[in-house]
């Protein structure tokens, strides 16, 4: 399985290649694939292109979510796979790279789901704790896909798992740079990554409600002094929700991680941090024997806050995992940002622009930890002299950057702002240094200057979102 990525909105900005018409061209190629039971159809659709897929008969699922029969699904700019337990016939309109695989780790994965189900059943009867699952593994091992699969299976069985994203490289129901906690109680939007956060209008697939924090850097190791407390705060909120939301409590949590934490000592410390903050009791190691034995060493004999031991199991990586190159990832991030402001093909959103005077904006820029220092000091004990953020005045440097508007007051301390959740994101569309004002793109038309904004380096400055 490969990971899903976001969506390009055709026609917005030069980065999006030629718009793919949503209606299939008359000459569009139509192919019908017969999939045997237990096989998987893997496909890649280039960014800016789309295909339509229809399940004609049988059963099919995409990352664990069952596809409806005879319903046309449109996939854009994505790498994904359709798996069938019973065999199926699918009709594909449009061009994509594709092949069918007979070998998949799906038996392992579905059994993992049923093992978790058993724990959930036990937990709701008062026997033990519900599963709090951490998925670790190197980059492009299929972690997010596994998280999504386990989430989708749990949803199908009436569960309400909480999904935690600790990977700021990619957003989950939010833009990159953010960390989110999201309860999933309704079907995952198969066409749209993880689906959509709430908008002011109706949604063809029920929206999800993420709680969003801002880290603003691509790797947790870039600034552990920022990453760890934000993560701790998110764990606190998630745990609070869990403790008085029975449905979620019974279902447990599934935590996605950035690949980088699985690559050595500094990363392992971050894994330990996540394990302890979220009281993780199950670790699924994807694809790496070495990581598995390192984890065994680290967590054997470990007890969670509730006194449980940690169950550690290694799962095979799917042959469908493909390396997603930097360019693909960059386009994916940009698509995620566009989607946040402008919506997706199913639903157009209309963001607002407003002029903001330099003097009215309160902007905190994230200091990146000194890489020299970071490599000498153990995690969490980096140079504590320096403040987390630097209060800055807007300049042309901020052009095309994303700012996170925080649920905090202007005069709050830096720690309070750090621990606050994100109200929303805005995009700096124009900067006029002479007139000392900037044009801001915001999802809706409300005043944003009465809240502090955080300026991170991730996601990186994006080419003009609006022409």
């Amino acid at each position: 399985m490969a990971q899903l990525s976001g969506v390009a909105i055709p026609g917005l900005g030069q980065a999006a290649p030629t718009a793919a018409s949503s209606a299939p061209a008359v000459a569009a190629s139509v192919a019908v694939h017969e999939l045997q039971a237990n096989s998987e159809w893997r496909f890649e659709v280039a960014i800016g292109r789309s295909i339509e897929v229809k399940v004609l008969s049988g059963t099919a699922e995409l990352f664990g979510t069952e596809l409806a029969l005879n319903h046309t699904y449109t996939f854009r700019g994505t790498k994904a796979a359709i798996f069938t337990w019973h065999g199926c016939r699918i009709e594909v309109t449009g061009a994509c790279e594709e092949y069918t695989a007979e070998e998949t780790p799906m038996v392992l994965y579905v059994n993992t789901h049923f093992a978790l189900e058993k724990l959930r059943d036990d937990a709701s009867k008062g026997k033990g704790e519900s599963p709090r699952v951490l998925v670790v593994g190197p980059t492009n091992a299929g972690k997010t896909s596994l998280v999504k699969l386990l989430t989708a299976y749990a949803i199908r069985m009436g569960r309400q798992p909480m999904v935690i994203n600790t990977d700021s490289r990619e957003g989950l129901l939010s833009i990159p740079g953010s960390l989110t906690a999201t309860p999933f109680a309704s079907i995952i939007d198969v066409e749209q990554g993880w689906g959509s956060s709430p908008t002011s209008g109706p949604s063809p697939v029920p929206v999800k409600l993420p709680l969003c924090y801002y880290y603003g850097l691509p790797s947790p190791e870039d600034n552990t002094r920022l990453f760890k407390p934000v993560l701790t705060r998110m764990a606190l909120a998630a745990t609070s929700r869990l403790s008085d939301d029975q449905a979620i409590k019974d279902s447990g949590m599934i935590i996605d991680t950035p690949g980088v934490v699985s690559q050595g000592k500094g990363g392992y410390d971050l894994i330990s941090h996540i394990v302890s903050e979220f009281s993780v009791n199950i670790i699924l190691v994807l694809g790496s024997e070495r990581l598995h034995s390192d984890m065994l060493r680290r967590f054997s004999g470990y007890r969670t806050t509730t006194g449980e031991t940690i169950t550690l199991v290694k799962l095979d990586k799917s042959g469908g995992c493909v390396d997603r190159d930097d360019e693909f990832m960059r386009q994916t991030r940009e698509a995620a940002i566009r989607e946040y402001f402008f919506g997706d093909p199913k639903r157009t959103l209309s963001p607002h622009t407003q002029q903001v005077n330099f003097d009215d904006a309160t902007i905190y820029k994230i200091r990146e930890a000194n890489p020299m220092l970071a490599s000498f000091l153990p995690g969490g004990e980096e140079d504590t002299e320096l403040e987390l953020y630097e209060k800055v005045e807007p300049s042309s440097m901020i052009l095309n950057c994303i700012l996170a508007v925080m649920y905090a007051a202007l005069n709050d301390s830096q720690e309070t702002i750090r621990d606050a959740t994100v109200m929303g994101f805005v995009y700096v569309a124009e900067v006029d240094e002479k007139k000392r004002r900037m044009k801001i793109l915001a999802p809706l038309n409300t005043r944003i200057t009465d809240r502090p904004m955080i300026w991170g380096s991730w996601p990186e400055a994006t080419m003009s979102l609006i022409g």
Binding site: S22, S57, N70, T199, S350, Y407, G424, R451
Partner: protein, 684 residues
């Protein structure tokens, strides 16, 4: 996007546009979905100015669509003429003869019976209506009736031909036409009608129109013959599985069809079975009260019947062979302790006390699903009767039905077990993907036909319908019911467990045609499904409006609000019954529900933090799916301030205590009745 057509069904568009949208909506109508039929009726009702265009679209659709989709389309026609009436009756009346007869010629007999019933209701006034005139005037319906009578006569002749050739084919000289063995059991002939062939029901109002089992067996068999085409000379007899017409056929078919077992392997099997029957009969004579022998004997006879009457694919033959081999082994002389029962079982199939529960049912020898599957195939050919003379009066235990309809994986048959595991064939069929794991109510027991209502909307196209019935009352299937031995250990995780997969499919019920989410087929599940379909409908409608109005991403919620928010289950309050009954349906669940007073959470962050001036508390925030936004419950804006509606009512005593909570302001949500139904939620 496939769904977009629904949202374009806007009011006031030109006729051809409406017709086009209607046509597209009809194309998606692959089953008797009450929801879709209701919607199409509503649209017809709300667009009577385009009645001509709409009726033309429907007529053309009926003409052009595949036979499998004709019946649902007729239900639309039926619903429109009954619920809306003129001018549709006028427009449809014009060519009703050709619309009806052309379709009749192409559909199978089950659909024909539905059409017959429908025609019958057209000769009568709409039930409950003050209008005493028939739905269609006699001059419209009579020519159709006359044509049908002719057709039936020729079909009966064709059927007799068929039986004759059938008999020759079987070459056994057995009396064919005698329905005796089935008469000997409490199973009425009608119950033999395999559930497979029963299209899912439609609106509950139609359940009264379901057909009593035909009075005589012959006519019944005739109706079961799906090959006869109206007005055509008799078809050559076919022994094969009849492929349901239409493109939405089952994924089983590629496996089920076109294979022939080598004749000789069947011969061997037949003689094996014959030997077993002889042995079992002998055994039975010695131990007339041993129910397991009876059971085995009956199963063998059934098997013999099945094998003699149709061609099975080789893999099934192989499975049956295994089964027979095991039975042979088991029937080898084995020490049997004979305990005479206190009361011998009644010798005749009088209504007797149910046999002891431990007596395996007939179908449990083969696995109930397996037998049902075989019988379903049998339905494609006329029913040759089992050899009546040799059948001891064996009664299918009625409690078959009361047994949990899902047999958990039986313990693996160990070599020391004298009787083969009754479920192994079933399990093998399942493992082979031939059968989903949940058997329906076995077709060949004394079970009365399922109330049609329980099938409403539960059979998706492309599925073998009878097997996806799920155990009632299981909303969130507890896995505890299913043997689930998976633990998070590499060895355990590697073992394929096909029986568990059904927990993600059949056991969850039948899927929503729009999004694939599954719903149980019990009352609660159906209610949820209707509410869910209704939700799809409203979203599609509102999306157009929202698109025009412009919409935007909402701010994320604050930590505290998020911690307090809940993903609520929808059954708190549903509008299900409302729209489900369609226009004109009287009962409205929602009318009795208190309507909840709420306000959209203000976008303005300053207001968003406001508290109720009276009690100084914050507002309870909920996601209101109807409005697709966050709302504060029990909130009311008075001037610039927001109050708890209840606090405000208490403080001002304005016009009556609790009424304030009920009497909502004008519906924010739109004109459709069902939309005002209060809270639904995000789980939809």
């Amino acid at each position: 996007m496939a769904d977009s057509h629904s949202s374009r069904l806007a009011y006031g568009s030109p006729s051809d546009e409406v017709a086009e949208d209607y046509r597209k909506a009809l194309e998606d109508l692959t089953m008797n979905s009450r929801y879709e039929i209701s919607n199409l009726t509503v649209i017809a009702k709300e667009n009577t100015e385009h009645a001509l265009a709409i009726s033309e679209a429907l007529k053309n659709h009926i003409k052009q669509t595949s036979p499998a989709k004709k019946l649902p389309a007729f239900y639309v026609l039926d619903s429109v003429v009954k619920n809306v009436g003129t001018p549709y009756t006028l427009f449809f009346g014009r060519q009703l003869y050709s619309t009806f007869m052309e379709a009749y010629a192409l559909v199978d007999n089950n659909v024909r019976r539905k059409m017959d019933e429908m025609l019958k209701t057209w000769k009568e006034p709409v039930p409950g209506s003050i209008d005493t005139r028939p739905v269609f005037p006699p001059e419209v319906t009579r020519p159709i009736e006359n044509a049908l009578i002719k057709a039936r006569t020729s079909a009966v002749q064709a059927h007799q031909e068929h039986l004759r050739s059938q008999q020759q084919l079987m070459g056994r000289g057995r009396p064919i036409a005698s329905p005796a063995p089935y008469r000997n059991t409490p199973t009425p002939p009608g119950a033999l009608r395999p559930q497979t062939q029963v299209p899912p029901g439609y609106a509950s109002g139609y359940s009264q129109q379901q057909f009593p089992p035909p009075a005589n067996g012959q006519q019944y068999s005739n109706q079961m013959n799906g090959h006869q085409q109206y007005g055509l000379p008799q078809q050559p007899p076919s022994q094969h599985y009849s492929q349901p017409s239409g493109s939405a056929s089952s994924w089983q078919q590629p496996q089920m069809m076109g294979y022939r077992a080598p004749e000789n392997s069947i011969d061997t099997l037949n003689s094996d079975i014959a030997n077993l029957i002889t042995a079992s009969k002998a055994e039975f004579a010695q131990n007339p009260w041993d129910s397991s022998i009876q059971t085995r004997l009956k199963a063998l006879l059934d098997l013999q019947t099945i094998l003699s009457s149709q061609k099975l694919p080789p893999d099934q033959i192989a499975l049956i062979k295994d089964q027979v081999a095991q039975l042979s082994e088991a029937s080898q002389p084995q020490p049997r302790i004979q305990t005479p029962p206190a009361h011998p079982p009644p010798p005749a199939p009088v209504a007797a006390a149910p046999p002891p529960a431990q007596q395996p049912s007939l179908s449990s020898i083969l696995g109930s699903g397996a037998l049902a599957a075989l019988l379903a195939r049998q339905s494609a050919t006329p029913q040759p009767t089992p050899p009546a003379q040799s059948v001891a009066p064996v009664r299918s235990p009625p409690q078959t039905r009361a047994q949990p309809s899902y047999n958990p994986l039986a313990p693996p048959a160990s070599s020391s077990t004298p009787v083969p595991d009754p479920n192994s064939l079933l399990e093998k069929l399942r493992a082979a993907g031939m059968l989903p794991a949940v058997p329906a109510v076995p077709a060949a027991t004394s079970t009365p036909p399922l109330p049609i209502g329980s099938l409403v909307g539960s059979v998706p196209p492309g599925f073998p319908p009878p097997f996806i019935n799920t155990p009632p009352n299981a909303t969130r299937t507890p896995l505890a019911d299913v043997p689930n031995d998976v633990v998070l250990k590499p060895a355990s995780l590697k073992i394929p467990r096909p029986h568990l997969i059904s927990n993600l499919y059949e056991r969850l019920g039948s899927p929503c045609t729009q999004c694939g989410r599954r719903f149980q087929s019990d009352d609660e599940g159906r209610k949820k499904k209707t509410a869910h379909m209704d939700w799809h409908f409203r979203v599609h409608q509102r999306m157009t409006e929202a698109e025009k109005r412009g919409q935007h991403r909402s701010w994320y919620v604050d930590e505290l609000d998020w911690i307090k928010s809940r993903e609520v289950e929808e059954d708190q309050n549903t509008s299900a019954a409302d729209i489900a009954g369609g226009p004109g349906a009287a009962g409205s669940v929602t009318a009795n529900e208190p309507k909840l007073q709420y306000l959209a959470v203000p976008d303005d962050p300053a207001l968003a933090n406001s508290i109720c001036p009276i009690c100084q508390e914050k507002f309870e925030m909920k996601w209101l799916d109807d409005a697709q936004e966050f709302v504060w419950m029990d909130a009311r804006k008075i001037g610039d301030r927001i109050y708890h509606a209840s606090c405000y009512a208490e403080a001002t005593k304005d016009g009556g205590n609790s009424q304030v909570k009920r009497g909502t302001p004008e519906p924010i949500l739109g004109k459709r009745k069902a939309e005002v139904s209060g809270i639904e939620n995000r789980r939809l």
